[in-house]
């Protein structure tokens, strides 16, 4: 099982801050997971597919959608960061 976390606007669109789910084995990259989540939820789709939404896998920022998620325990999708 994998925890998928949503932060910022993404959590509003998802209607929750996290889900725990079995990710299909054929999903290998962050981009695959984005597409899969978008296909499951019409409200989430336009937000999670936005290029401004960054991802982290097991608490490491992804460099892009080609980063692998195989065996990931935690994947986070984040709207633009806003500290300070």
């Amino acid at each position: 099982m994998t925890r998928i976390l949503f932060f910022g606007r993404v959590s509003d669109a998802a209607g929750c801050s996290e889900i725990t789910t079995e990710i299909p084995r054929e999903l290998r990259t962050v981009g695959d997971v984005r597409d899969w989540l978008a296909a499951r939820d019409d409200a989430l789709a336009p937000v999670i597919l936005s290029p401004t939404v960054r991802a982290a896998v097991d608490r490491v920022f992804c460099s892009g959608d080609a980063d692998l998620v195989v065996d990931a325990e935690e994947i986070a999708f984040m709207s633009p960061l806003s500290g300070g």
């Binding site: 959590s11 608490r59 984040m78 709207s79 806003s82 500290g83």
Partner: protein, 151 residues
């Protein structure tokens, strides 16, 4: 280097007092920045700000950004205190303080870290007003300042 992410209000005076009292003889400059919650924003009144973070990740990322600034500006010490949770007008959101041999390094370090915190630190800010909430994201000016810093 001291980095604290906390969900309770903090005293700027107490934090700065503790930090500056521990300075060494080589310190010639202390530069500080405090960001406060305002009661007005570009879009209207603000009853409170709510800051979300990613526990266990935010702390690590802020420390990583802070460490890079310490090294780039040869700081003697650096303090970062950042709020999460509900912050009301007049309360501090963030405190950054840098100790260095000279003022140029201390001032530059504080400005640089604030630019990074605005766009690279895993916090998400919402303005709350009249039962409505609005996400606050970095402005074009924030992004431009961050872009000018390079990687």
């Amino acid at each position: 280097m001291r980095v604290t992410v906390k969900d309770a209000s903090f005293s700027v005076d107490a934090e700065l007092s503790n930090f500056s009292q521990a300075r060494t003889d080589s310190v010639g400059a202390l530069a500080t920045f405090v960001g406060y919650c305002r009661s007005e924003s570009a879009t209207g009144g603000v009853e409170s700000l709510h800051l979300d973070h990613y526990p266990g990740f935010t702390e690590v990322e802020v420390a990583r950004l802070a460490r890079a600034v310490v090294e780039r500006h040869h700081l003697i010490d650096l303090l970062v205190v950042h709020r999460t949770g509900a912050v009301t007008p007049r309360e501090p959101i963030v405190l950054v303080a840098a100790l260095a041999e000279h003022r140029a390094e201390a001032l530059a370090a504080v400005a640089e870290l604030m630019d990074y915190l605005k766009t690279d630190a895993p916090f998400w800010k919402r303005e709350m007003n009249g039962g409505q909430s609005r996400w606050i994201e970095p402005t074009e000016a924030d992004r431009a300042r961050r872009a000018a810093r390079g990687d």
